[in-house]
Subunit: 217 residues, 2 copies
């Protein structure tokens, strides 16, 4: 096995380090965050840091740099409190990746990428029409990560839209039925397929699959 130490990481060429460190923590979630400024400019950008924060209350978080390419996303959320999280699927990985280009602030990535904005109910922020799982979120708080000047934005999940066919009777959404992708590093898009789903683990009991049929017993 190759071993890379802290001092190797420090001395690395910048892009090499970006690629290695972004891929070494495992697969990441693949989402488009969409917002609309107070003055009406929509914005959509790819994020790989959206993370489950808790179920009750339903919350998620994501990491951003206030002055990065995603600055419009952050500015619009601070102005309006609202944003949407939209899954990226196999059919739209090129369009999703293109949202990372540094467009001027008054240019909508929706126009430039072929992604379609859709407004649902009276929610301020646009959803991405091509997305099959969409969340309407409300800003709650932010935590400044002082070790590297990033921000963890924490939000409430207030609306969930999805095709009923991907939900199992116990509430679980089967994401490979929606064709949701995951991100490998900064720029790799992968399609997961379900291997197995297991029941709650208990000491001294074998792990039990959800898919073991009665007939097998």
């Amino acid at each position: 096995m190759k071993h890379i130490s802290a001092s190797d990481i420090e001395k690395m060429e910048k892009i090499f380090r970006l690629n290695l460190i972004n891929s070494c923590t495992g697969f990441k979630s693949a989402n488009l965050i969409a917002t609309k400024s107070k003055s009406g400019n929509p914005n959509v950008a790819v994020f790989s840091s959206v993370t489950h924060m808790g179920s009750n209350p339903a919350m998620l978080g994501f990491v951003t740099r206030p002055l990065s390419v995603s600055r419009n996303t952050y500015k619009n959320i601070k102005e309006t409190s609202y944003f949407t999280v939209n899954h990226i699927h196999e059919k739209m990985i090129e369009q999703a990746h293109q949202t990372a280009a540094k467009y001027d602030e008054d240019i909508s990535e929706f126009n430039k990428t072929g992604l379609t904005e859709e407004y649902l109910g009276d929610f301020h922020a646009p959803y991405v029409k091509q997305s099959e799982i969409r969340l309407g979120c409300r800003y709650l708080n932010e935590y400044e990560i002082k070790e590297n000047d990033t921000l963890l934005v924490v939000a409430a999940i207030e609306h969930i839209y999805f095709d009923e066919g991907i939900q199992m009777p116990d509430g679980w959404l089967r994401l490979d039925d929606a064709g949701t992708v995951s991100i490998n590093g900064l720029d790799g898009y992968s399609l997961p397929s379900l291997l197995d789903r297991f029941h709650y683990a208990r000491p001294n009991q074998e792990v039990k699959s959800f898919f073991t049929r009665e007939a097998d017993l």
Copy 2:
């Protein structure tokens, strides 16, 4: 499309809500965090919240509840500052899931699940021998998420171990070559395969794949 509102979420039965909210943010990273207490008890537990926090300095974060099943992980990290992050692969999803069972504090999940502890260099915390991508991490800080009493633990990545064959010349680790899995909700284990990898996006330029061969041009 089915629409679920904030008040629907609040009124949901607890397990149904856990399944829905844990799966609606997309695929999650699949890692085993391993620690050893000051008195020498090893511990290993599955985590789906490990997230890239930055490349320079190389940092990751994960979310935990101080009093959850993962309390031993947190306690050991606070006592010793060190922990490892070990990718979960297709061949070990049952063992990884079993680490979530509520064993007594003095019982090592390594003994109970068949996962093997391995010590590398003079690093205090054990690595998981079955894991093909392993990170040695040092605690830096924690942020209390006051909206739901969870903690974001932030750590420096100080060691990286992997098989050289999965690294591309630009530093990127191809995770599907390692058979790394991703997690769907609380208990679904999925195997991603790479669809494509794209070059840096620029305004008014088409998205370019890394895999377009010269011969195709």
